[in-house]
Symmetry: C2
Subunit: 188 residues, 2 copies
DNA sequence: TCTACGTATCGAGCATTGCTCAATAGAGAG
DNA sequence: CTCTCTATTGAGCAATGCTCGATACGTAGA
């Protein structure tokens, strides 16, 4: 008690990182809007007030947490994306390893407009990666939309696979690449 | 003021319907968890307490609202589903007319476990409709998963189309049926 | 080593919101 | 006309997002 009451003064940078880290961690166990400031503060061993010192509002805090989650995802799928096979393989590996935070990100998508916006940005970036891998330079609006929708398909199928082991990795891989190929050919 | 203070006693059935109706209405303008009991009560011209008299908890109220939204959707797509073309056509018409409540339903999916469950049930029912239309009696787990994921694709693409008029109705229709056909053939 | 300043940190307190419970009043049965 | 049943309410509690003034920790300069 005496020890926990002691003020452990830290640099703003570390504190922010710590708090966002805690947010990411908690995001894997419960939906975004169920994370209360009190929970985070207690976990970080600080007062509520301090959290509001770093993030003007709960929304801002959430937003940074979700953005961090998004960055993680994009970092994990990017770079390998030379071909569609590479991209899909990277995507599947990522989902396999980290489907929990990924689910968390998705589940958070609908909670609020500002979260949804981050979610859309993330998906747009993934769409760009896919389009690049497909060697499509100037896609029509329809092609972009179709590839974006394919991502929804990919997410759903990959998560189902990661959670319930539905089908083999090769089957899922084939379903994803095959569908994308078919979709893109149809869309233009 | 005097008029609004007057007690307008109603039958439980009507009250429940009224309250759920208000919930459905509000769901089109804001995400589920942003609807406060106070808002609903004020709109219905009743006290907060009465709402808790009919629904033991806010969750229960939400659940019934979302279930009602789900039922609407299923009623609108069911029946026409003789062939896949019929089903897709019905789906597109429905989205075209009512994409707002539909978006609302989707957006609500991640807010909480119990909402997500309703959402999954809804999608499972739609999957059954599609499988029936495809004349697939005993689908493997993989086929079911693939068709379920295809629904995510369909939802995403149809909503994009309804909101931003991306592509013609025929193009979207072709993209949906084509993808489903391709996916099912690949999955088995 | 001492002092003074900047700021990381906290505690008290306010408004909103989900929820409880005892009290009240409207409507139909007898 | 009265009595009973229950739809309805108001007051109040606990949790939670958020504000603000006070405090103490760490360091730069003497």
């Amino acid at each position: 008690m005496a020890a926990s009451k002691r003020r452990a003064r830290q640099s703003p940078d570390e504190r922010r990182k710590q708090l966002i880290g805690i947010g990411l961690e908690m995001l894997t166990t419960r939906p975004l809007h169920q994370i209360t400031i009190d929970d985070v503060a207690e976990r970080a061993n600080i007062s509520r007030s301090l959290l509001f010192h770093y993030f003007p509002t709960k929304r801002d805090y959430y937003a940074e947490v979700v953005r961090a989650a998004s960055r993680r995802l994009l970092r994990a799928t990017r770079g390998e994306g030379e071909t569609i096979d590479d991209l899909v393989a990277g995507f599947l590996s990522f989902i396999e390893r980290r489907h929990e935070p990924y689910i968390a990100l998705f589940r958070s998508a609908g909670t609020d407009d500002w979260v949804h916006e981050i979610f859309r940005d993330t998906r747009a970036a993934l769409t760009d990666q896919a389009l690049t891998a497909l060697d499509i330079d100037e896609p029509s609006e329809l092609v972009r939309a179709a590839v974006g929708a394919w991502l929804a398909y990919a997410e759903e199928l990959a998560l189902e696979w990661a959670q319930h082991h539905t089908g083999s990795r090769e089957q899922i891989h084939a379903l994803l690449t095959g569908a994308l190929d078919h979709i893109v050919r149809t869309a233009r």
